[in-house]
Every structure is written in structure tokens, then in C-alpha cells.
Subunit: 385 residues, 4 copies
């Protein structure tokens, strides 16, 4: 790269959780600089947040429309290269569409939109504009997730037969949305979070992980969503039986009321010859199990690791990378792709390996199908997209 890319941020004011994570991830590799921001629906909070992030006054905007229009008129060597949208789910679509219309590439927090319909429109817009949209399904940024995907695609497990993915969290075990927890408040409000709570917030991650690693697509489900905590307005827990397009079966469990769990996303994939197991909370380890040989412990940063994991690792074996590095991998690959396109080069497969609108459509489809399946008395629900 010749220069750092310039980022404008929509949402992510002080005290927001995921906005800060995006900045940490974007900062890490020194390829991106935060240049502009419309950081809050409250202009005062937005200004204060911008100052804390060392933005000059003239790059702190009152709202995203102002930012996008103003930045679009700046000279090419000043204006932002892309926007990052880290608002609650309901406020993803409009700024993303406007950004694309005005020629900006887009990073967007998952789930991509509030509805499947919006997701499809966004996909169409991306294809029309030729711009790049990156969806931050963080967990696919981990090197050992990429290692798992690469090993399966190379056939080391044979045909995939079964996938178990579980994502238990405990942070909504009480009615914290009524106790002043702002994160809980919007994430349990259907008007802001969408049709499902547990499945929108974390189930989509689990579904994405299963499809990303296995290379398969879910095509039938049988879902059971629950409101476990009395008084909550939206599901906080769900269990889903899965069928994949190669005929294999699976289970997806997502819960926000698994008391005592932190963020315990785990996946196990079994094939004809062996199985893989990965735990997000110990992300640098991938256990590979074999039918008649000892299981193996694959670890990031070692010489035997494949090209995709290697491209997404910064440190030698035993120097643990974590969630922020996984997130940074997505930003780095996005940045390298943008840079390649700016320079009329073809991005490598490794660079292009970040979630995009197709993943976003599948994520929204997952939410809608799971909700519909859960509401149905029919056992198997054919996936509709």
C-alpha cells in the first residue's frame, strides 16, 4: 500500500461497545486512519466523541448524511475511502445505501440489515456500484477458523457428515434491559434489533461460522426459539436442527441466558475420516481428530499452517492473538482489497476472504427462516431466500 486508507465512522460514540472494537481493529495494522465521524445521533455526544478520537472539528459531523455529502465533495487525496457503520441494526441500511450511492466503500457490523429485503437491495447496490462492502462476522477472521475451512476444502475430513455449533452467553440472564443496560435495551427491542434477539445477535454468527468453515449451505431447519426471561420482548434463546445441502445434519444452539457463560462459541464438524473442533475462547487451537490416529493440536503461528491462516496471523506460535486480531484481519483484508482495486490489481484469494453481501443475505435469511420455522408446527422448514 502507498498510503493509509481513510475511514469515516457512523455510530460508535463514546460508551458504544462495538464502535470501539472496530476502531481498535482498524488501527492495529497501521493501514487505516480514522479521518471523519458522525459518531452519535446526539450531536453533542458525537462532537465530544470525535474530540476524544483526535478528529479535527471539520471532520466531526452532526449526522451521517452530512458526513457523506461533505466528504464526497472533498478532493480525492483528502476524502474518506470508506465508511464503517456501527449503529444498531435498524440503522444500517440507509447509511450504507447512501454511502454506496456517493461512491464510498462500506464496512458494516452484522447483522447486515434489519430485514432480508434490505439485505437484497444492498447486495444489488453493491453490484451496481462495483464498490466493496465488508460485513464484520468477526469469528471468520480467526486464523484457526480459516485453517479449518482450508483443511475441509482440501478434503482432509472427506465428506462432511455433521456440524454442531453452539453459542451460549449468559449476559441476558436477568431482565437487564429494564435496569439501565443500554446494550441490552436495544438488543431486546424488536424495532431496533429485528425479528429475533438471540438469533440476530449471535445465532447469525454461529450459522455463518458453520457455513463458512464447511463450505456447505443450510437448506432446511427446525427451530425452537424461546423467551426464557419473563417480561422480555423477544427471544433470548434458541435451538435449531439443521440440514445442509449435501444431506448432512447439524444442530445450532444460541442462548443469551446460559447463566455463567461468557461468549462460548464452539463448533465441531465431523466428516468421514475425522473431525474438527474449535472454541472461540481458546481461538489459537484447532483440534483435529482422526478415526484411527491420535488427535492433533493445530496451533496458530506454526510452520505447518496453511496459507489462509498464515496470511491472517501476526505473531509466532505461542503468542496468543485474540478477538481484536480476528476483527483486524477482516479490516486488513478489506483494506488490502480496496488498495488492490485502487491500483487496478487483482486481490488475492486470501485478501478477498472477508464476509460480504452474500453472507449478509444469508445471515438475514437465517434470521427470517428461523423465526418462521419457530412459529410453524411443521417439522422441517425449507430455507427461503
Amino acid at each position: 500500500m502507498q498510503r493509509k486508507l481513510r475511514m469515516g465512522m457512523i455510530g460508535g460514540g463514546k460508551d458504544a461497545f462495538i464502535g470501539a472494537v472496530h476502531r481498535l481493529a482498524a488501527n492495529m495494522d497501521g493501514l487505516i486512519e480514522l479521518t471523519a465521524g458522525a459518531l452519535s445521533v446526539n450531536p453533542e455526544v458525537g462532537y465530544e466523541s470525535g474530540k476524544m478520537l483526535f478528529l479535527p472539528d471539520n471532520r466531526i459531523y452532526k449526522n451521517y448524511e452530512e458526513m457523506l455529502h461533505a466528504e464526497s465533495k472533498l478532493p480525492a487525496d483528502e476524502k474518506i475511502d470508506f465508511v464503517t457503520i456501527v449503529t444498531p441494526n435498524f440503522a444500517h441500511f440507509a447509511p450504507a445505501m447512501l454511502a454506496l450511492d456517493l461512491g464510498f466503500n462500506v464496512v458494516i457490523e452484522k447483522p447486515m440489515t434489519l430485514t432480508l429485503e434490505e439485505a437484497k437491495q444492498l447486495d444489488t447496490k453493491v453490484k451496481e456500484t462495483g464498490l466493496t462492502l465488508c460485513l464484520t462476522h468477526t469469528y471468520s477472521g480467526y486464523p484457526m477458523v480459516k485453517q479449518a475451512k482450508q483443511m475441509i476444502s482440501e478434503g482432509v475430513l472427506g465428506e462432511v457428515r455433521k456440524i454442531i455449533v453452539e453459542y451460549p452467553q449468559g449476559w441476558l440472564s436477568t431482565l437487564s434491559e429494564r435496569e439501565g443496560n443500554a446494550q441490552a435495551a436495544w438488543r431486546t427491542d424488536p424495532s431496533k434489533t429485528g425479528k429475533s434477539g438471540s438469533m440476530g445477535d449471535i445465532g447469525t454468527h454461529a450459522a455463518h461460522l458453520a457455513e463458512y468453515i464447511s463450505g456447505l449451505k443450510i437448506n432446511k431447519i427446525c427451530a425452537d426459539l424461546s423467551i426464557v426471561v419473563p417480561g422480555r420482548a423477544i427471544d433470548d434463546d434458541g435451538n435449531v436442527l439443521l440440514k445442509f445441502d449435501n444431506g448432512s445434519n447439524g444442530v445450532l444452539i444460541a442462548s443469551q441466558v446460559a447463566a455463567g457463560e461468557e461468549n462460548a462459541l464452539k463448533i465441531k464438524i465431523y466428516g468421514e475420516k475425522g473431525g474438527l473442533e474449535w472454541h472461540q475462547m481458546e481461538p489459537n487451537t484447532l483440534i483435529v481428530k482422526w478415526l484411527n490416529q491420535p488427535a492433533q493440536i493445530y496451533r496458530t503461528g506454526n510452520g505447518y499452517i496453511g496459507s489462509f491462516a498464515k496470511h491472517n496471523t501476526r505473531t509466532p506460535g505461542g503468542h496468543p492473538e485474540g478477538y481484536l486480531e480476528a476483527f483486524a484481519n477482516i479490516y486488513r483484508n478489506f483494506a488490502l482489497t480496496i488498495d488492490a482495486k485502487l491500483n487496478n490489481q487483482k486481490p488475492t484469494d486470501e485478501m478477498l476472504d472477508f464476509p460480504n453481501t452474500e453472507d449478509g443475505i444469508r445471515g438475514m435469511a437465517f434470521i427470517e427462516n428461523v423465526v418462521n420455522s419457530s412459529n410453524s408446527d411443521q417439522k422441517w422448514w425449507d430455507y427461503k431466500i
Copy 2:
């Protein structure tokens, strides 16, 4: 106890897997001696097996009928106190009924019978005779399983909200029943194993464990059984959504084609205040998770452990007990109960804590309901017993 109890074994000749396990478990505490045997359908194998076990010639029988009738005529201070039935599933019911009719207590390998109907008849017979029947759901014999049960019954987790129990094995990942594996042969033959393969062999253990620890009863299910290995005659894999009688939900996964897995039974139970996690392959540890406090690592053999776990532990903390000790706990409690009854004493709750015909009925009901649910297009299947 005044003397060792005398055991007669039905099945379990040389090369049988589970018969050897029963003998190890019965031997361990020195409370039981193997006194007689009808160890094989093949009398030569039976005789040879008896000699290897140091049985005198006159206590090695050609078949179970011969043994039960002959033993019933021996003097009280010579004849066996109980029989252990370790034949394949289809050959549990008849010897158990005859043994009870002739006045012998019974230990029986799970699943208790071939059908639910047989299970009910056996239960009736036990109640009529006043004799004791013990069903060897091994995993409920582990001290930390009992600790989990005791903690939940004492309310430390509050109301139970969610149960995830998974039981992956990989030993049937190939069509080994066609390659001379005798264990695989009968366990995949519906005439010998019953209506379900994966659910009869291991799913019943998982269901028993969930109900045993939680104190809840499954009352609705949605099951998806599969024959994963082409050419197999019976399911080797299944995923089941669960509803319990307190309204909580759960998932049960049992697979014999999870390539690379050994015997990886795990259970997680979440309540209002925290959660419990137990892994059979590291059985001396129970992780107890809390909403706002550090998780705790409960370990067998420590002073802070409850009365049930304590009663079922032989060694101090850090001296691992395993599968055979869990099995031996069931035999020991059965023996202590028999002894108490022989001496007109009331067994303690700890002694009585072994699976019985009620568990056997629930196990057979589980199999039948899961098969019926799997065959149905209806989403939720009401448990029928």
C-alpha cells in the same frame, strides 16, 4: 455387611465387552463374589469362560434357565443372591423375568429391555416380588454427577432453564458391522438391539443423565434420526430438541459416527443463577458457573463435596476415579441395599441411589418416542409412556 453377596452372571463370556466391565465393577469393593455363570449361548465358550473366572464346574451352567432353576434349589447359604444380565438387549427380558420369579434380585445392563412393553412388565414383576432390580446407567454412578444432582436439588442454580447433553462417539464411522466387529454387528441389528441404534445404545444414557441430574422429566421432543453410513440397517446418529416438564428446553445429540470421538458424553445445565458442566472423559471435575462470580471447579474427594458424591468416592482428591469406579458405585449401592433388606434394615437414600425399573421404563419410552417423533412430520411429539 456380614458376608459377600453371591452373583450369578448371564452372558459376558470371554471377548464380551460389557460383561468384563460388570465383573470388574462387582469385584472392586470386595462385597460381591462371582459364584455361578451361564456365560454364553455357546456352552463350550461358556465353560471355558467359567474356568477362566475360576468358577467350579458345578456352578458353570449351560444356559440361564439351568442356572436359575439349579441355584434356586441350593441352600440359602450357598445359592446366588442375584443375577447380572449382560446379554444383548433382546435377551434381557426373559432371564430377568425368570430370575425374579425364582426369587433372585437382578442387575441388568441398559437399555433394560427390547421394548417399552417389556419394560413395563418387568416393573410390575419387580413390584409384585418385592425384589430389587438395578439398571446399570453407568454415568449416574459418577460422584460429580451426583454432586451436580444434589446441588440442583438444593436449588443453587435456581429454576433450571436449559439442558444441553451431547454424546458423540466415532466407532461406527465405517461399516464395521460388515468387517467382523461383533460389537458393531449386534448393535446395528434391529432384531437384537431394538428400534434405534444411536438412541438405544447411547441416547438413553444421555436422556437418563439429563433427567437424573436435573430432576426434570422430558415431556415433548422433536427428533431427527439418521442413518449416516450408507448400508447400515439402523440409525447411527440423532439430534433431538427437548422440552421438560417445568417448561425449560434442551437439546440431546447422540452420534456413533462423530469420527475421532471416543466416548465424549457432556452435559451442561443452566439455571437462573448459574450453570453446571460435566464431561465424562474428565469425570472428577464439575465446573460450576455463576452469573457474577468466578466459575468454580468442584473436584471429587474434597471436603466441600456433598453427601451423595462422598458416599460414592474411594480416594482422596487428585487420585482420579473413572468409569469402572462409577460402575462399581452402582454395584456397591445395589449390594448395600440388598444387604440392608436381608437384614431388615432401611437402606439410606445414598444406598438407594441407583437406577431401577422406573428409569428402565423411561429409557425404553425415550427410544420409542424418539423413533416415533423422527418418523413424524409433526414438530413436537408428546412423550407417551
Copy 3:
């Protein structure tokens, strides 16, 4: 075997810890029966203990001399085949010598004697009599310990370069010998336990494990023993630098005041090509690490396991065996060896793989050398035997 071997026990009355463990181990495989006992220095306790173990009155003896003399006069098909000595350390030597003199084989709890000199005399006596003596260094009975030994002897690690063995316990963190803890009382009394507390009780296990697995011999040490708990009469903690006879180095740590530890014996052995790691508290797993390949998880009961581990395993993979099974392996191999000798057959290498007087001498030498080294200002202490 044609019949069970008959065991006479010296020590191990009710409430004794290690005597009960020996009985569980001897019982398990059904190859040994407890036939006689001199179970306590207190004849009343001895009698009561014998009755609890279902011994007939005429085989419950007042003391070991009475038992050994009486048994030696019984007919061959009645008298005991061997004695097991489970008294405190100071009371090992005399009964062992008498038993050998009267023609009985011997099992003896470690450390073998009170002094190195006694150990040498016992070794001489064993060689003179041609009888078999078995020393219960339990940890060498674990299958994965045997697997480690076999792999190293086959050269998979190349030359061994470094050994780290640590054995932390916490049970003597307070002055419990003054609070009525009988185990603590004799084990911290130099007249009963010998010259060292921590090294006699657990350091010898660690040293034996290191030499057993590696096939190397310690030949230089630098020891630092401490009395950590004020008021204690003997060391409760020690750290030792090691040199082995191939020039490699090592560290041995044994502590009884590592508060919060149970029985956390661990060993790591590094060679030119890789390393091995084994933890006693998760004994069915052996981690094998490689220079440029993923580490492997060797597990008991799998097909890829070597002949020694296989011979010492009762259950399939994933059915955990533990401390009692490791102990039972020592008894079983001892019994198979005795039986082979009784039948003028040559025991296999696998049968003979139990600790003997040579290990006992090395154990006592370890204690004496460590104490001498600790008392010396000289850095390296040449091992004297």
C-alpha cells in the same frame, strides 16, 4: 491362571488410607483374594477390621509374626501366596524379611524401607530366595506412563535432553499433624517416615517416574529441602536440580504445602525431536509434541497404542481409568508373574513391568542423597548408592 492367588495383608486396618487402596487394586481383576490379615498393631482393631473384610476368625492374626509363621505351616493349597505390607515406612523391613525367609512373595508400599541400608538387605534377600517382591510405585502403573516409556525407548524423541517433574500437594499446608490427622502425624514424624517428609512420601514417586519413563538414571543432584510450615519436624517441600547419566538435566519439585493442589503430579520430557507431557490428574491423555508438526493427543484404549499400555488397559477409549486401575495394573502384573513362576513359565516383559527391589534401592538412595545434598554447601552432589 488356574486359581486366584491368596493374599495376606500386614497393616491396613479400618481407617488406614493406603491399605484400602491396595485391597481395591487387588480385588479388581478377580485374580487375588484376601485370605489372611494382621491388620493392625492394635489386635482389637485388627480383628474388627478382619471381620469387616469377611475374613474367617482363624485367618485374622494378632501380628505379622503370628500370621507368617502360622501361614507357613498351612498346606500348599491353603496358605497365602504373598503378603502385602501397608504399614508406615518404619515397619516395612522386618515383615518383608521374615516373609521372604518363610517363603512368601511380597508386595510392599513405597518407600520400600526406612533406610537405604535396609533396602539393600532386602534386595539381597530377594535374590537369595528367588522370590518376587513388588514395590507399589503406583504412577508407573498408568497405561499412558507406559506408553511414554515405550515411545522413548523406541527413540521417537531422539536423545532425551531435559526432564521436568513436579509433584505439588497442598494437604500439609497447615500443621494438621497437631490437629488429629493420623496420616499427617506419622508422615511428619521422622522416626516413622524416615529422613525426609516431602521426598520420602512424594518425591520418590516423582524420581521413579522420571527414571522409569526416560530410561535414564539420576547421577547428580542439587537439593533444597524446606520446612515451610513453622513447627513441623521434617521437610514438607523441596526443589532439586537433576543431572542424568546421559548428561541431560532436569528439575524435580515436590511439595506438600502447595495450598490448593490435590495430587498434581506432572512430568514433561524433552528430546531432540519432540517432547512428552503427562498429568496424573488427567491420566488417560499423553501429549506428544513435535518440532515442526502439530502436537498429538495419545489416549488410552485406542488402536494405535503400544503393547505395554494395551496390556494395562481394561476399557475402550473414552472410558476413563484412574488411580485404582493403575494400582491394579501393578497387582495384576505381579500376580501374573507369580503365576507364571508357579507354573514354571517365563513371564512376558509386560508382566514383569512392575517396580522391584532395584527401584526400591533407587528410591531410598534418592531420599538419602537428597537429604545429604540439601544439608551440603556443595552445589552438585554425586549420587551415592
Copy 4:
């Protein structure tokens, strides 16, 4: 902070390992910008490296002298605030002294200098100038290390009794310094790395960690350094017995030839009431063991965590932070301290919690004392500083 701090880097050109790590750590929080660099002794490599890092031509310097003199003449709102020295050990002292003389704060990779004498001079210079020097002992930047320190300082373990710290790596298991491995080459060359290989490179980290967490100081040692790989010019392995200033004992093990190990730094500290265990490769977990209660699993990002760990954490529980975040904590605290001083404010205790010249002196003293002890026949070597 009002603005980002400006960093000049000495060393760390392309292909250098630790320079890249420093940049990632400095970038992450958006508080520091790389403004200038003298990135290589080879000016061409330095220029190319500077361009890859987007430095303007006039801030890419040929050598550190040029950079420091030129920057010192720039206006206050342009010139760098501090330099980061990431050269091999022998090239730390001179640039650090010049930087301080010219008024720049300093970050310096460990070990601080080549000799203890240099360390003392640097400490004197820092005190004379009133500037801030930060030594990057990375591992003290981990939140759970800080949690351990805070818990011990608050007395939860009672008096500390024993410390076991081990740091096994395997990367020097072969003579890779002769095979073109540049990292191996300088780290095994005494003229560039200093008096000890294993102890300078990793033993100092282990010693720092032990003293940092426990609050104790090593005051006596007995060291055994080895050259394990034939042909190597400097020790690659060492074992050290420790005595601390409160009379407690310990063991420190550092090895670069522990084949198959990555970067497996672990520490266990035992006190009167319990113990702590932390593993660098799973850094978000701190196990706290208790005498008579279940062990606890402390985890980063939870509400029950102390002020120091909290200040050094960016993500909620279950979103793992790693090595780079630990490193970034050191940079952030250094930056916050510099900023506070620039604004005549008093840094908080949390901000000031990064290693400084006192740690640097102790690190160099550790190396020299260990080497001297290893060369001595005397058992205990009194620490000399």
C-alpha cells in the same frame, strides 16, 4: 489526551520480529502515531521500511543519531515525543542515553541493556532528566497477571511460600543459527545478546513475572545453565533454584530447546491460604486455588475483576485478548503517563504500572547473577546488584 503522541522508532525494519510487534501495540489504541524512524543499520533497508510504514521521506533517517539530533531541533508541535528502541540487546544503551540527553522519553525492548553496569547508568540518566523510560516486559501487561498481583498484594493468599515459574520454548532445538535464521543468529551470539542466551531472552521475563506478581525480590539463587545443542556459543537452557526476600523458595526454568513447546510461560504461586496459576498461552484465565474450597476461574472482562486488570482490558468477558493487547497495555500506560506529565497531572497508579529502569536493573542483575552462579561451585549465590 489532547492529541496522539509521536513515536520515533530505532530498529524494527522490515523482517524484524519485535519491531513489528511494537508497532502493532503502539497503533492499537489510537493514542500514538509513528512519526519518524531510523529503522535499520542498512540505510536502504531503513528507507524501504519507512516507506512501507507510510513515513514521509524527511522523517526516515539513516541512523539513530541523525534522527535524534534532527528531531530535537524540530518545533514542539512536530517533533517526536518518544523513541522506541527495538534493536538487538547490544544496541540499546547508546541510543537510549542519547535520546534522554536530547530530551526524549524512551521505550526500550528487554533486556534493557547488554550489562548491569549500563542498566545502572541508564537509571541514573532517567532520574537526572526526569524523563520517562518504559521497558517492555510484555507479560506484565496481561490483565490476569495484574489481577494476580493485585490479589496477592491484598493478601488473599496470605504470605507467599513458593513460586514456580517455567518458560519453555523449542525454537532453538536445532542449530538454526547456522541455517540462516536471523533471529537465532543474533540471539545466540554473546557479543549481541549478552552473557546469557536463555536467561537473557526469556529467563528475564520469567524472573520479572515472579517478582512483579508476588511483590517479592529474589535474593539468593542456585543456577545451572547448559548449552544443550552441540556447537552453540551460549546457553540455551537453564534451571534455577530461588530464594526470595521473605524466605520463601522457588524454581525458575527457562529453555529454548524444549522441543515442541511454543512460548509456554507459566507461573504458580502458593501462599498460606491458596495458590494462583497463570499460563501465558491461555492468558485470559487465572486459576485461584483454595485450601478447603473449590478452585475458582477468574476471567478477564468480568465485573468481579480488580481495578488494575479492568484498566488493562478492552473487551467484555469471553472476547479473548492476547499478546498484542498485553503489549499495547504497556504502550497505553506509558502514553497516558507521558500525557499526564505533559499536562502537569499526576498519573494514576494504574497508568504508572509499566516496567521501568528499576525493573531493567533487576533484569540485568538477574542475568549476571545467574551466569555467575552457574559458573560457581558454591550452592547458594547471594544476589548482587
